[in-house]
């Protein structure tokens, strides 16, 4: 995926950009920048949720996230995109049907794998912040998306949870997938990470 002079403006004033970067298969892109620099916005542009207002975004798997059956994007945003009134199991089932998943594991195995064994049938509103995040990770872990977009994936997680994220990312890159994540610099990232810092706003 190649971004050239990519930028986004809302009603005139520029939110971020222009930025230029190349993300190859198996690559990891870390988007830095102050609060309000436009990291989340950039992720949304990469996800195809927002149309870039300047520059070009070329992805070798077609326009992201629109055409049916297109190799898909997996997004873990500030909000987990889960329903608080449904159980962890129900949430995960739904996400799998929506995004597709490896059939290898059962849903409960996936939950156990993120350390939620025994919490499968609790309503999400009865789970702690980190546990909710872990459900989102379980969904991510099973998605076969080419491009992972993770917005501050380490937030709310304990040490063990953070290492879990790292292993997930490593696995995705193994698989030849791409990962773009936002960070505030406090997180441990592999040495071969491509860094992209958005001009300080706030």
């Amino acid at each position: 995926m190649t971004a050239r002079d990519l930028g986004f403006a809302r009603t005139g004033e520029t939110i971020f950009g222009p930025v230029t970067f190349v993300l190859r298969a198996g690559g990891l892109l870390a988007i830095g920048g102050a609060n309000g620099a436009g990291k989340t916005t950039l992720l949304h542009v990469l996800a195809g949720l927002l149309a870039p207002s300047m520059g070009t975004l070329a992805t070798e798997f077609g326009e992201v996230g629109h055409a049916p059956g297109s190799s898909r994007v997996a997004l873990v945003g500030h909000h987990n995109g889960l329903k608080l009134d449904l159980s962890a199991r129900a949430n995960l089932r739904f996400r799998e049907a929506l995004h597709g998943a490896e059939e290898s594991q059962t849903v409960d195995k996936a939950l156990a794998h993120v350390g939620l064994a025994g919490y499968e049938s609790l309503a999400l509103r009865e789970l702690s912040a980190g546990q909710r995040r872990r459900v989102a990770l379980a969904a991510l872990a099973r998605s076969r998306a080419t491009l992972w977009l993770l917005d501050e994936p380490f937030a709310n997680l304990d040490a063990e949870g953070r290492s879990l994220v790292s292993t997930l990312i490593a696995a995705q890159r193994e698989r030849g997938g791409m990962v773009a994540l936002t960070t505030h610099g406090a997180d441990v990232l592999p040495a071969d990470t491509t860094h992209c810092r958005l001009g300080a706003a706030t």
């Binding site: 149309a51 996230g65 995109g81």
Partner: protein
């Protein structure tokens, strides 16, 4: 069959039903409204209640139908606030299909019960039995159209987050014709005329809504993505 468009739509359909079960107060409100209306008039009118009987059929029908509109504007707002909407958009599944699934689920949860209790309402309010079939028919058609309209407007409301638009203001003008034909059908029967024309109008409306509403809905949700 995970990941296939149909599978995704089915899953979304299931999810909405599950949510309805988890939050029955949202789901049952319209039904409750309809029954409550029937129960309230006697209080309001005391001894005069008998005067209402001959006309109460149409009355309850109107309120029952309008009660469908309650909380319709929240259909997509919830998904937008907790990020589920982004997931739907990102999934790359045909959005119109997903919207259709949601409409169907919504109708099953809110519209169908209304249709099912229609005879009870009619009975409670002393509607002449000969009008029941028409009432039921018009309700089943009318609820379908209203749900479709409502979803499109709800999607628009989400799309135009910052500008404050009034979903009811969008829905009601579109809903009024439905109400007019629906109530018209019942009243026609009650006064011995043929309800065919208004019923046909409703059917036409539904026939239009079924293919078009999901497309409109999807387009509205895409607005953000420019």
């Amino acid at each position: 069959m995970t990941g296939t468009p149909v599978g995704a739509a089915a899953a979304l359909f299931r999810r909405d039903l599950q949510l309805a079960v988890r939050r029955p107060d949202d789901a049952l409100q319209p039904l409750l409204f309809a029954v409550i209306v029937a129960a309230l008039f006697p209080f309001a009118l005391g001894a005069d209640a008998t005067r209402l009987a001959p006309i109460a059929g149409g009355v309850a029908w109107v309120v029952a139908l309008l009660s469908l509109l309650i909380g319709l504007d929240a259909v997509y707002r919830g998904d937008e606030e907790d990020g589920s909407l982004d997931q739907l958009l990102v999934s790359g599944q045909p959005l119109a299909l997903l919207c259709a699934a949601r409409m169907l689920a919504h109708w099953l949860v809110v519209g169908l019960p209304l249709v099912l209790v229609a005879p009870v309402l009619a009975r409670l309010l002393g509607m002449p039995p000969n009008a029941w079939p028409v009432a039921i028919a018009s309700l089943s058609l009318g609820t379908g159209v209203l749900v479709a309209i409502g979803h499109v407007c709800a999607a628009l409301a989400v799309a135009a987050k910052r500008s404050v638009i009034l979903v009811p203001l969008l829905v009601l003008p579109l809903a009024v014709p439905v109400l007019i034909f629906g109530a018209g059908a019942v009243q026609a029967t009650l006064s011995g005329l043929s309800p065919t024309v208004p019923l046909l109008m409703l059917a036409a409306g539904l026939a239009l809504a079924i293919p078009l509403a999901p497309l409109a809905c999807a387009a509205a949700l895409r607005l953000n993505a420019g």
